[in-house]
């Protein structure tokens, strides 16, 4: 029997819905599931019916942050959530807004939160649902991440989660792993400006990839690229701290990056950095592709 899914939205931009439509095997996937409601795709019920009708289903996907009074269809988001969350076997908080509050949180800190988390604290509006919830943060979340979780749920396999309820198979990696600029990070060669394929963006341009959990450089975006590969600093969008301030400039204290690569003690990092910087690797200090 097909899994029945209800996909609803809180305070959102629809980014996760559109990211989902980028899934390259959507046709195959849709043969296995039935959307009782989806914000974009044709689905069985209307928003009105969703709050009026009685029905059973398996998985609730919540996209967007929770603001209790937010109107959704003919009822408040809170009413809709209360009804659906009881019936759902599993709940997926899809995207950083649903997981932690996200971008829109800073407009109304007290009233906009994630399902289980409010930023880094377990103070979301539906924290009693913790056992049912899996967070798939990201602004937006990658479609493959969602499909993986749905598949695991369907196969009744255990999904190992980290402290922020994120599946480890996706978030145990850092966004840094797999970035094509890794050599420049190893030898501490910074990107001299935007718009070049050479150099690491961690030192000047604000890249948060070395301390951001995510598989962006492992499971590529749109199957072809990632922000950091293209030359854009990682904004740390899978973390509860998203969105920080001054995103295109590395925060430093006396030229030393304020944030260390994940799990690396400062002394260890500075020792290695000092040593690495002592060598000028010619290949990494010129254009990769030139006429010479």
């Amino acid at each position: 029997m097909k899994s029945k899914i209800v996909w609803i939205q809180g305070v959102t931009c629809n980014g996760n819905s559109h990211s989902f439509l980028n899934y390259q095997n959507l046709d195959i996937f849709l043969k296995k599931v039935e959307f009782l409601y989806h914000p974009l795709l044709p689905s069985k019920y209307s928003l009105k019916e969703l709050s009026e009708k009685r029905f059973d289903f398996d998985i609730l996907i919540v996209e967007g942050a929770i603001k209790k009074s937010y109107e959704r269809g003919i009822v408040s988001l809170n009413t809709l959530m209360e009804k659906l969350s009881i019936k759902a076997r599993k709940i997926i908080a899809l995207g950083t807004c649903a997981a932690f509050g996200g971008v829109f949180k800073s407009y109304d800190e007290k009233n906009i939160k994630g399902l289980i988390f409010d930023g880094e604290e377990k103070k979301g509006f539906f924290k009693e649902l913790e056992k049912k919830v899996i967070n798939i943060p990201g602004c937006p979340a990658h479609p493959e991440w969602l499909i993986y979780v749905l598949n695991m749920i369907e196969a009744k396999k255990k999904i190992l989660l980290d402290d922020f309820l994120r599946p480890k198979e996706i978030y145990a990696f850092t966004v840094h792993s797999g970035c094509v600029r890794n050599e420049y990070f190893e030898w501490k060669v910074d990107a001299k400006s935007f718009g070049v394929k050479e150099g690491c963006l961690f030192y000047e341009q604000g890249c948060q990839a070395p301390y951001t959990h995510g598989s962006c450089n492992k499971i590529l975006w749109n199957e072809v690229n990632s922000k950091t590969r293209a030359g854009m600093p990682c904004l740390g969008c899978t973390e509860p701290t998203f969105l920080k301030e001054e995103l295109f400039k590395t925060k430093t204290y006396m030229s030393i990056p304020a944030n260390m690569p994940l799990g690396v003690p400062k002394r260890a990092y500075l020792t290695i950095t000092g040593v690495a910087k002592s060598f000028k690797i010619e290949r990494l200090n010129k254009r990769l592709i030139d006429e010479s």
């Binding site: 939205q9 305070v11 959102t12 931009c13 629809n14 980014g15 996760n16 819905s17 559109h18 990211s19 439509l21 980028n22 390259q24 959507l26 046709d27 849709l30 914000p39 974009l40 795709l41 044709p42 209307s46 928003l47 009105k48 937010y70 109107e71 959704r72 269809g73 971008v103 829109f104 800073s106 407009y107 109304d108 602004c139 937006p140 400006s193 935007f194 718009g195 070049v196 394929k197 962006c216 975006w221 749109n222 199957e223 072809v224 690229n225 990632s226 922000k227 590969r229 293209a230 030359g231 854009m232 904004l235 969008c237 969105l243 301030e245 001054e246 995103l247 295109f248 400039k249 592709i289």
Partner: protein
């Protein structure tokens, strides 16, 4: 008064109808949400707007990024700072913007227009046709991502250019993905590469979904419903658009200072007028400027009725495919992607306009000591869906007044390709 909830328009809206003698006498458009993007931007460093603004909208975030980068560049220029964008960066910015338009328009046909048509009468377009088109969307977004890193929600345009540094290999891949997408679109949506130049008679005979949509409208006598004010506005300047208003097919220059945004009593969307008049913006406006044969003929026969509006959007797909291809062919990779510019601003103002998929998008930024003091966004849907009075109805209102029932009104409403999240930023 009868209230209808309209959903799956990137969120929801409510239509409050007033009927008189079995006809819609007046209709009010209400958007229920507000997300406070303009407040979120306040007191943040200028460049943070590049990260925040794409998040206004999941389907046209790229247009918001483009508008942001132009507004910031305008801010620097107004402060006497030299802003020099290489031709290469300009082309890349347009490629990604136009790819976003294409994927938007394709989703609109199959997820917005065809479903509402199906609810009115029989139309011979398979429920699963979207799944075929979705493969084209996947490919188009790959073209985008080759330059922007990902879609949705990239911030790869920065003041001074773009952050990417593509190779010939990247361009080749982009061309192939574009071709894959076009192959699917030509199989389903229109078979002719110069679709926008065909005649109405040819359209009527077409075996593609475009032909089916045309015949559906004709058989159900819907070709000329949904006429609005036949006044158009384009603010975003791109390789094929300029800043004009078009009245009775004649273009006149326009100035930003005559744009007026005003709060409404109900709902959170703000009204927008140009010199106190309501205008239509979007693909129909752009095609009225370009005047390809198909749109010229449709307009002659049905004015700005839904058939002209619908086929303007479809014609634009065909047109944009060609521009993206041309741009890909003319990028000079040896040029710089990014020119560093001084970014220190004591006090200043910047404004910009771009053509988003749904029409003209305007951003305005006020800065003090490198910090955003105020930010204003006017979205295309605000232009099209403002609320006027029964004496002076705004664009979409005018198009719905006089119709017999809510279903037809909803069809007309959806031809404007509503974006609720944008409107309620």
């Amino acid at each position: 008064m009868r209230v209808e909830l309209i959903e799956k328009i990137e969120g929801e809206a409510k239509l409050e109808y007033r009927f008189k003698q079995d006809k819609i006498d007046f209709v009010k458009i209400v958007f229920p949400h507000y997300r406070g993007i303009e407040e979120i931007l306040r007191n943040r460093p200028v460049w943070d707007a590049l990260a925040i603004n794409p998040r206004v909208c999941g389907i046209c975030g790229h247009a918001h990024l483009f508008a942001t980068v132009r507004a910031i560049e305008n801010l620097y220029q107004n402060a006497g700072i030299d802003v020099n964008i290489a031709e290469k960066a300009k082309l890349i910015r347009e490629i990604t913007l136009f790819c976003e338009h294409i994927q938007n328009h394709l989703k609109w046909i199959y997820l917005v227009i065809v479903p509402i048509m199906k609810s009115i009468a029989k139309i011979n377009i398979d429920q699963n046709s979207f799944l075929e088109i979705q493969k084209a969307i996947v490919n188009i977004n790959r073209v985008l991502a080759i330059f922007s890193g990902q879609w949705p929600h990239s911030s790869y345009m920065v003041p001074g250019g773009v952050v990417c540094d593509p190779t010939h290999l990247d361009i080749l891949q982009a061309r192939n993905f574009l071709k894959n997408a076009l192959n699917i679109v030509e199989r389903r949506v229109f078979e002719n590469i110069v679709f926008e130049e065909i005649t109405v008679a040819e359209l009527e005979k077409s075996k593609t979904d475009s032909g089916k949509i045309f015949r559906f409208l004709k058989e159900n006598s819907l070709l000329s419903i949904g006429k609005a004010n036949d006044r158009y506005l384009i603010f975003g300047e791109h390789s094929f658009t300029k800043r004009v208003k078009i009245i009775k097919t004649v273009s006149y220059p326009v100035k930003m200072k005559y744009v007026n945004e005003k709060s409404q009593k109900s709902g959170f969307a703000k009204n927008v007028t140009y010199k106190s008049n309501y205008y239509e913006t979007g693909p129909l406006a752009r095609m009225m400027l370009l005047k390809p044969n198909l749109i010229k003929q449709l307009h002659r026969a049905y004015k700005d009725g839904i058939s002209t509006r619908i086929f303007a959007r479809i014609a634009e797909i065909s047109f944009l495919f060609k521009i993206v291809e041309e741009h890909l062919n003319s990028i000079e990779l040896s040029q710089k992607s990014y020119n560093h510019i001084k970014t220190d601003i004591k006090e200043g103002y910047g404004e910009s306009a771009v053509e988003a998929a749904r029409g003209s998008l305007i951003h305005k930024i006020w800065v003090e000591k490198n910090i955003i003091k105020k930010y204003e966004i006017i979205t295309p849907t605000q232009w099209n869906l403002s609320n006027g009075t029964p004496q002076k109805p705004a664009t979409a209102q005018k198009a719905m007044i006089g119709l017999k029932n809510g279903k037809l009104a909803e069809l007309v409403f959806r031809t404007f390709d509503i974006c609720s999240v944008c409107t309620t930023h």
